[in-house]
Point group: C2
Chain length 334, copies 2
């Protein structure tokens, strides 16, 4: 069976070259990328759906999605909504992807807020962080929903039988945190999920939990801190090594090991993140995605289709919890 | 001139042994640690103020500070309040240090919330992150105060002439962030401070800004993500290197460079953080502090006394801004 993946050729800082190169690299009889972009784009032989507009990173997300209905991003998202593709991948504006997905693909029944689920390549094996940035402000009920979504994700995609959920906070004790996590902690304690309590950001790359739940602002800050630190440490080490002959020789000898560490721990290894809670499969890739990251993001999308993540979420999300969360909406967001 | 530093001998996971060892290591004619702890404690010749109680990490901070007035932590804080010491250092409960400091040392006039200022050992030279965890929930006005405090700190302690302030958020554009940062961004834009806009967590170890401002929850998460990642990367690299003969040899050759990187970037290098906005100098050390970290924290305290940080803050904090922030308090926190 072939998985058709709609790819926004104009999304990301290095589009279209790196996006096209990534799509070309990953194309097989099983994974069939369809590029969305301007007429005349050199697609290396991949099918192109011609679009006339582009959403820029500094566009206002919601307005741009409304105004630019023939943009590569919106058209790629609509391909999933219309059943012309099985999944969509874009390295463009996260906000625009969220807006376009909400508008065209729509939420699964009972889901109040979609959440971005990122696979953390931790030492003890992968875990999932949700929400990594879809909702800058969230309420305790949303965190409970993220926990349910993350649990399904960990089970279906990461193959964890009985995933443990942790709440990202600033102390392991239940009574440590801000107002949001204190209330979310109580909801999670009585949720029926396997809730292991709070965890701290220092354990994220250790993989102490299968699912780490947080609001999108906190998740995004934590994720970028991981990425930045990984890069800074390895860059600093390289420049220290280059400063002495002994270091230079050592640097040559450790190169394979350093590459393995980087490949193992760099979040870019996974290339993209799922936007969960929608009626279709949406993958958001890093804005700075190289061809390798784009290829990985397309693979991630195909894997989601293969495991039928959307249907699993629809089946397994406990409707009662979600409805009760939804019923709090009117007062929660003015 | 000698700086008298009150040291809570029972604070931290490795107390009292590592705390005493750190204090002994740092003691000179200039820096004179005074230990606060139980009778009979082997202080290696340092003066001991005998106390009969201990605050535990899982004690409720405010209650413990009230109930255990003869604890080593409270007595050490009171030594500063009473003028018997120039500064206090504890690796004990941050919450208890905050509560004891607010109660006994009290806030500088006009300061609504003290903030924890941590020196980030960034690649382009140190910068200061404030608040690293004193206030899990904060309001935009508090972030504005933190910016003013951080600015004074960067000028006085880090020697930056005209420090640039950045706001930690999830995008560099002014309109990216959560409700708190969106409002704080506006306040900072019109503050008269040299505000460089938002910054992302990935730049923290690069040192793009002199002062990075955030609420205490976010700051604590970011800081712990930096620490955890630094540790995980170096540990992973070590175990990768030990898996092959080539790696083992390389590991030996790179050891000095790896140590320099670790020393340069590990937040523990600074050993402690200032709790700013009080009428006395308070340094909070890491809970897991080794003797080296304790010694560094005591040095940091002495440096703060030497530079008269408290007086500089009192002089330089623009009273108008602070009073206006204060006047919003009654509605801000119910």
């Amino acid at each position: 069976m072939a998985y058709l993946v709609a790819v926004d050729a104009l999304g990301g800082d290095r589009a279209p070259e790196e996006v096209v190169a990534g799509a070309v690299a990953v194309a097989t009889s099983e994974i069939q990328p369809i590029l969305f972009g301007p007429a005349g784009l050199d697609t290396g032989g991949l099918p192109l759906v011609e679009t006339t507009e582009a959403i820029e990173m500094d566009d206002h997300a919601v307005e741009a999605v409304r105004a630019k209905s023939d943009s590569s991003l919106v058209r790629a998202v609509r391909a999933v909504a219309d059943g012309d593709a099985d999944a969509v991948v874009s390295a463009g504006s996260t906000g625009a992807m969220l807006a376009a997905s909400l508008f065209h693909i729509r939420r699964l029944q009972g889901v109040h807020r979609p959440g971005i689920a990122v696979v953390l390549p931790a030492r003890r094996g992968p875990s999932v962080l949700i929400d990594a940035g879809a909702n800058a402000d969230a309420r305790p009920e949303h965190l409970l929903q993220f926990a349910h979504m993350g649990s399904v994700f960990a089970r279906e995609i990461l193959g964890k039988d009985d995933p443990e959920i942790r709440l990202l906070s600033i102390g392991e004790e239940d009574e440590k945190g801000n107002q949001l996590t204190l209330e979310a902690n109580e909801l999670l304690r009585s949720s029926g999920l396997r809730f292991g309590g709070n965890t701290e950001a220092r354990t994220l790359l250790e993989g102490e939990a299968d699912v780490v739940v947080c609001d999108g602002f906190t998740g995004n800050v934590a994720l970028k801190a991981l990425e930045g630190t990984t890069r800074t440490i390895l860059t600093s080490l390289r420049s220290e090594l280059e400063s002495t002959p002994r270091g230079k020789l050592g640097g040559l000898l450790i190169r394979p090991a350093a590459r393995r560490v980087r490949a193992q721990l760099d979040p870019e290894t996974y290339g993209g993140a799922y936007l969960l809670g929608l009626r279709g499969l949406v993958v958001i890739a890093h804005g700075s995605s190289s061809r390798v990251a784009v290829a990985n993001a397309i693979r991630l999308a195909a894997r989601g289709v293969e495991h039928d993540v959307v249907a699993r979420l629809a089946e397994r999300l406990p409707a009662g919890v979600l409805e009760s969360a939804r019923s709090t909406t009117p007062t929660a967001h003015k």
